[in-house]
Symmetry: C2
Subunit: 352 residues, 2 copies
């Protein structure tokens, strides 16, 4: 080891799902949308004036902030934007979780939370989900430095209702509570309607799933203006210009087309419910996912073997080598055709 | 103050230069390139397949990393990319500066360094530039937790030669030394040729100035693969997908066109040298800038008054309300026409 290496920050990085370069694969491993972005995005891209790329983008990304605020009927000082919801949540950890007490998040959840906590040296505890992978309210009634969980939870897909979230907030009025709603548009109810009631509630969403814009890296947070101001202060202490010009301009187009959004979201929900039937017929067991993925386990077959088998058939799903969930697969909802190809492959596996 | 506000991270954010929405202004305040990006950028943007925006971008941004590596004849494990050089340097502070000893950077320099240090609670000392705004080698011969300075320095524009940088490196072999080369293409010599010789040297550059792509947010670091690996580990602990698809694809086009790059860079250098003559005729005093800006002070007129006067004439330059430099203006090199408009305005000021 070199002398200067002793001053390196020690981290255990998050491992994202594979992004295979082979375009022939059926990609059900990173919860992307199977449909393209709203048509207006294409037109805006083709008409964008490239000569202005020489200039810095608007550091406030005001056009995008205003479009998001308009969609949710909020004021623009209640909206913060970042480079995907990972940037928004990572920055939220750095901004809000500076207590000596541990922050709380479930043992089975988005696997970036502990990575951020480790990166920023934030203490944390991970209350255990119950046998059916539900979050237990009692676990969040202890002293803590902040609370975060996704709704629906990932990778389980299980959602809680707003009454549950209100109870969490009622018990945690002295810390910031973050609800990570990456998958909320596929059937759960957003807590955004509570932000005027609970000043310490931050709701985070993303363009990467329901808006079909993962490639553009746009995430956002909604909450009381004190929270948004604090996030902006930290953002301006790290990188003044996080959102590039295409992200700002195309993001506006993506959120403005409510009709297209509704259409593709409903299609995905329909295919998810159809897929639940098919998984059931094949002997899989799973909870009632409200997300654009289903978290399945099989009565007879090992998840890791199924994962490898499907990969050999060029169908990518996600397998987490973690306690309690190592026998599960997280399967993104693709098009009907992609799902049928998956089910056909699984049927062949059973016959083999 | 609300209870949860006590856990907010306390910061004093960086203030970026104004980005006026009025397109009629002459913008010489944020060191942007007066010319558009390389022509191939426009074509690539118009031909980009928008439907793939539904997918996550390549987390490694490999196409861009490889294009940069090819340009500098490095291997791809010697190159790290981020959302502008601010993202790259901010992440470098977090990654490399975890010593209890203070890091060192000049008292007059890029005003983001102390902001990052404060954000990440890194101790620092700021050795004073000499009377002519030169960095003093002796100041960097003390025990420290790391070293960073820009070459050319900002906002002075003064450059050091590679012999100077080698001496800094020779005295600082146990810490990471970062040379911030945002402006190096306008006349200074890059330290990138030293990275195989000094494993603890990180050289940071950007597409925002000489590549005319500030709006796309692309910065990069070059160094030993241990440094690059450590940066990537921290990046993957914060946000797996920092570079969006347009940044990756258009960045490749921007760096591939060496001919256009040379052409616009030479034009800017020529206009800078012409501008030095004009500033001199007008009674301004300044150092020998090797950047795309000149840092000027006038024998008779107050900088702040000149700043306000020019702004009233819709000419934006930069004024820093900081000790030792409050009577200076940083003027970005624009087109010949823009500079002549500036000089005409200054002549009118003298007559008034």
């Amino acid at each position: 080891m070199r002398a200067w290496e002793q001053y390196f920050r020690q981290v255990e990085p998050y491992t994202p799902g594979e992004q295979p370069k082979d375009t022939g694969v059926i990609k059900l491993n990173t919860n992307e949308n199977p449909y393209p972005p709203a048509p207006a995005v294409e037109k805006a891209m083709q008409n964008m004036d490239f000569s202005k790329f020489r200039l810095y983008p608007d550091p406030k990304a005001e056009a995008l902030v205003e479009a998001i605020a308009a969609y949710y009927q909020l004021s623009k000082d209640q909206v913060f934007v970042g480079v995907g919801s990972d940037d928004v949540i990572g920055m939220s950890f750095l901004t809000f979780f500076n207590s000596d007490k541990p922050i709380l998040f479930p043992d089975i959840t988005y696997s970036f939370y502990d990575v951020w906590a480790d990166l920023f040296k934030i203490p944390y505890e991970r209350p255990v989900l119950d046998q059916t992978f539900q979050i237990c309210l009692e676990d969040y009634k202890k002293e803590n430095g902040g609370v975060i969980f996704p709704n629906p939870n990932a990778p389980t897909g299980e959602a809680v209702d707003l009454e549950f979230i209100k109870k969490v907030l009622d018990y945690n009025q002295d810390v910031v509570v973050i609800i990570d709603e990456a998958y909320v548009d596929f059937g759960a109810k957003s807590a955004v309607e509570l932000i005027n009631q609970y000043e310490n509630l931050l709701v985070v969403q993303t363009f990467s799933k329901s808006r079909a814009m993962a490639g553009m890296r746009i995430g956002y947070a909604m909450g009381d203006k004190r929270l948004i101001q604090a996030l902006n202060d930290v953002k301006y202490s790290y990188n003044s210009y996080t959102m590039n010009m295409p992200a700002i301009e195309l993001g506006v187009k993506a959120i403005e087309d409510k009709e297209y959004f509704r259409e593709i979201t409903e299609k995905i929900i329909d295919i998810r419910e159809y897929s639940k039937e098919e998984f059931k017929k094949l002997g899989f067991v799973f909870g009632d996912s409200m997300a654009n993925f289903i978290f399945v386990t099989h009565k007879e077959y090992q998840a890791e073997e199924l994962f490898e088998y499907l990969k050999s058939k060029k169908i990518y799903v996600r397998h987490f080598k973690q306690p309690r969930i190592q026998n599960y697969l997280r399967v993104t909802i693709g098009t009907k055709e992609q799902m049928d190809a998956l089910f056909a492959a699984l049927k062949n596996y059973q016959r083999a």
